[in-house]
């Protein structure tokens, strides 16, 4: 029945087309619009100020004398008990002893792969992940589908900590989309984007009752994002 309607609909639309419309996928449309914002040279600073402005907690560890201590301090401040971390192979190259830091801050840490179920993840206070990309223009973290990271690890625990490798910080939304289209590695190659991609910018929020802003509805109420220094990549 619905298949029939497809034919009828397309037949109708084609019969009522007026004139010759311009092309759907023009070459010109592949060019970056002149309006794409310029984010300055210090992408890290821009990222942090954007994210902090919307209630996220961002910090650039590149400029920190002791990144592990800074991260540990933040974790301790949360006052939480349990944390869950994905099994992204990139953890090894961050140069941060993440398990030590988390456990040192008094949290119990469990590692999961992409098959962990939402109901199991919901038992944890904190989800810990690595960003696939981050956008300085808006303070946004982007993550695609991954066999190492369940989609809901950044959603169902009430806090989310994400670390951003230095080479994954992009300037603008355009950079992100162009990267996806060209199959960039951080977008999971052509396959990663092909299933699921999500952007997170600060904590979950609502203003549905009397337009009063309330933080932490269905998603995490606290979101920490720490930019990693380039040198820590080389470890």
């Amino acid at each position: 029945m619905t298949e029939n309607y497809r034919d009828r609909l397309f037949g109708f639309l084609k019969s009522r087309a007026v004139g010759q419309p311009g092309e759907l996928f023009t070459e010109a449309s592949r060019e970056r619009p002149s309006s794409a914002p310029r984010c300055g040279d210090d992408l890290g600073a821009r990222f942090c100020s954007e994210l902090n402005a919307v209630g996220g907690e961002a910090s650039d560890l590149a400029s920190s004398a002791d990144p592990a201590a800074e991260l540990g301090g933040w974790l301790q401040g949360l006052g939480l008990k349990t944390a869950v971390i994905d099994s992204d192979p990139r953890w090894k190259v961050t140069g941060l002893p993440i398990r030590e830091i988390v456990e040192g801050a008094g949290l119990e840490l469990e590692r999961v792969d992409g098959s962990a179920l939402p109901a199991d993840l919901a038992r944890f206070d904190l989800g810990i992940t690595l960003a696939d990309a981050a956008i300085a223009e808006t303070g946004t973290i982007a993550q695609c589908a991954s066999p190492f990271r369940p989609r809901s690890i950044s959603l169902v625990p009430r806090c989310h900590l994400v670390l951003v490798p230095a080479d994954r910080l992009l300037a603008s939304l355009e950079d992100l989309f162009e990267g996806i289209s060209s199959g960039a590695e951080w977008a999971g190659g052509p396959e990663g984007f092909a299933s699921y991609f999500t952007w997170m910018t600060g904590p979950s929020r609502t203003a549905d009752i009397e337009k009063t802003l309330t933080i932490g509805v269905h998603g995490p109420a606290r979101t920490g994002a720490f930019l990693l220094g380039a040198e820590s990549q080389d470890d």
């Binding site: 092309e23 619009p33 992409g114 269905h218």
Partner: protein
């Protein structure tokens, strides 16, 4: 949803008596306007952006069959399934049979005006399914058994006290709970529902032709829940939601978020191109896109009105409309309120059922000024007024007076004569305050405003005098 758009004048009169509603609307509109203002000010090229966004949406809408076809091919190539439905009934049946084919019994929904359009919840509940709205505003409205009154903030007409009372009644929470507590109560209840749901239903803000991607914009996280946890994800999408390419979204998202809530981007934006792949553990096993026509193709076929399909549902035209700001969303009698509602409702439900809506505007033009995709809403309202008259909506008084007016307007001599006779009568009526004793529409008109006294000198004699002086142009 039942259409009551032919009752705009009654519904709006009632709304105007509602003190709380007027206060709530004033507060909401001021806050929406401020937020958008700040966000727009931070973009130096706003006008250029609007023009580009207009061109992008236009390109998709002008090439609608090709754009839909490309989207369909792309999402189907990765295991998605696409249906096209002529009207609400077909869409409801399609969705129900999809749910049945997966033995689904519990549904969580994210905010979607299209599902309101086809009254999906009622239908699914009647079929024995449990359906819960995941968006806080929609959840409130669902518990209250009402309909949204704003496309971005559905429960804007409800006070905190009403919500507390409602939650107390249905969920047993403290009747004096404050807003953060109310939010927590809803969050806890809905969390259970999300974790137990087997079907997630969403709308879509955009669907991308070139990649076959469904794009969903939100702040709470309920859409992520509904599209991640349940086994099956069904997106009900108006056929006008297509955009050509992924890269086009950079611009459109910037404009949508800023125009809607003044945010640079919302807290979450999901891009869904397929169900989970074998390597992934969570995410739905199957994705369906149900395209709804329900009047859209008819609107598309009307060249003067087609651009209304470019709408990205940001709600800015509502937030800046003095009429919406006074009477609220329910007065419009159907799903889509405000200027955009007044334009599309007559197309979707039939002009005869919504002939009052195109009149529900002072044509001040603010909606067109703020619309991020430059839809000329006032021109469209005028076009619809003409159609309504053709469809016989004008009463005998209106038709008669317009005929007289057009007769006078075509003959300068008759015009002068009518003015000469009319002036003294008008003056008498205005001076004596007689308008209020006159019957019919004049009386209603004068209930809230006085009839101004005419100037001592009429325009024509002033013009004659001035041109004689020879300085009109100075």
């Amino acid at each position: 949803m039942k259409v009551r758009s032919d009752q705009f004048s009654r519904l709006s009169s009632e709304a105007l008596q509602d003190e709380f509603l007027r206060e709530a609307l004033a507060r909401a509109n001021a806050s929406f306007q401020d937020a958008r203002g700040d966000a727009v000010d931070s973009m130096p090229d706003w006008e250029a952006l609007r023009q580009q966004a207009h061109e992008i949406k236009n390109r998709a809408i002008e090439n609608l069959p090709e754009a839909l076809d490309a989207f369909e091919k792309n999402i189907c190539s990765r295991g998605g399934e696409v249906h096209y439905c002529e009207d609400g009934a077909a869409a409801r049946d399609t969705i129900l049979s999809i749910i049945r084919s997966h033995d689904g019994s519990s549904v969580t929904k994210s905010k979607s005006m299209v599902t309101e359009e086809i009254a999906l919840n009622d239908h699914l509940e009647a079929a024995g399914l449990s359906v819960l709205e995941g968006d806080l505003g929609e959840y409130i409205i669902q518990l209250a058994g009402e309909h949204p009154s704003h496309i971005i903030a559905p429960a804007i007409h409800k006070s905190r006290e009403e919500v507390a009372e409602l939650f107390h009644e249905h969920l047993g929470s403290d009747p004096k709970a404050d807003i953060p507590e109310l939010t927590r109560v809803a969050q806890r209840t809905l969390r259970e529902a999300f974790l137990g749901a087997d079907i997630g239903i969403s709308g879509a803000n955009f669907v991308v032709s070139e990649t076959g991607t469904i794009v969903l914009v939100e702040n709470e996280g309920n859409i992520r829940m509904s599209t991640t946890i349940p086994r099956v994800h069904i997106a009900l999408v108006g056929i006008e939601k297509v955009v050509p390419r992924l890269e086009d979204l950079a611009l459109l998202l910037r404009l949508l978020c800023r125009s809607a809530t003044g945010q640079r981007v919302t807290s979450y934006i999901s891009f869904i191109s397929s169900a989970r792949t074998p390597a992934e553990g969570d995410g739905p096993e199957k994705i369906y896109v149900v395209f709804l026509d329900a009047g859209r193709s008819r609107l598309w076929a009307d060249p003067g009105q087609r651009a209304a399909l470019n709408c990205i549902r940001c709600g800015a035209c509502l937030n800046f409309c003095p009429v919406y700001g006074s009477v609220g969303g329910h007065s419009y009698g159907w799903v889509y309120p405000g200027p955009i509602g007044s334009v599309i409702t007559p197309h979707f439900v039939g002009i005869e059922k919504a002939s009052q809506l195109p009149q529900a505007s002072s044509l001040c033009g603010r909606c067109a000024e703020v619309c991020p995709v430059k839809i000329p809403l006032p021109d469209m309202l005028l076009g619809l007024r003409a159609k309504a008259v053709e469809a016989g909506s004008a009463g005998i008084v209106e038709r008669f007076s317009m005929r007289v007016f057009s007769l006078l307007g075509r003959s300068p001599r008759l015009w002068r004569f009518a003015l000469a006779c009319g002036r003294p009568v008008y003056k008498l009526v205005a001076r004596a305050g007689l308008a209020s004793v006159l019957g019919g529409p004049l009386r209603r008109w004068n209930r809230s405003r006085g009839l101004p006294l005419p100037q001592k000198q009429g325009f024509r004699s002033w013009w004659r005098a001035e041109t004689k002086k020879g300085d009109v142009d100075d």
